[in-house]
Symmetry: C2
């Protein structure tokens, strides 16, 4: 069974590391308990909508991009990765940062 | 603040209605309480990863497609809808069903 909390956790950790930030920094900016954010990243806790929004804002990553990458990861798990091209336009990627590149 | 539970709820309801199924039918197939599924669809309850997977299976919609549409809806809310083309290949849409068409 594909569990979305595990994909969300991995995506949040990937974005955080690409931004060069520590768990402590992001937890502080998002006003989230450090231990809770750590559990979310490890896929051990469901993330509430409010906290996901706060963490996305702290990371300065738009929510659509987080969910898009979650969708892409699940597509790989569901075995259809080759069917979906990477199509976020280059200028959009450039405007937000290289961490938006989907592959 | 964009709340992902509201987008997930709307997407699940849209897919269910496109499949012509009632809340009761989907709740039964997914072994989820009817009232709970109703609250999820209305964005009033966070959906757990296990229940989201069960509802997706009951609807016969792959998880990646649910999250892709969630991402697309959030992109509209975040004001960048025109930047992301609709690019799920036609043959993939045809293989799963017209409800996968993203717009």
């Amino acid at each position: 069974m594909i569990l979305i909390r595990q994909e969300i956790g991995d995506v949040l950790r990937d974005f955080r590391q690409q931004k060069g930030q520590t768990l402590r920094q992001v937890a502080g900016k998002a006003s989230v308990a450090l231990g809770y954010l750590s559990e979310v990243e490890r896929g051990q806790k469901e993330v509430s909508s409010e906290i996901l929004a706060a963490v996305a804002e702290a990371l300065e990553i738009p929510m659509w991009a987080i969910m898009r990458r979650v969708s892409d990861r699940i597509a790989v798990l569901e075995g259809i990765e080759s069917a979906i091209p990477d199509v976020v336009p280059d200028e959009l990627v450039a405007s937000v940062g290289p961490e938006l590149s989907l592959r």
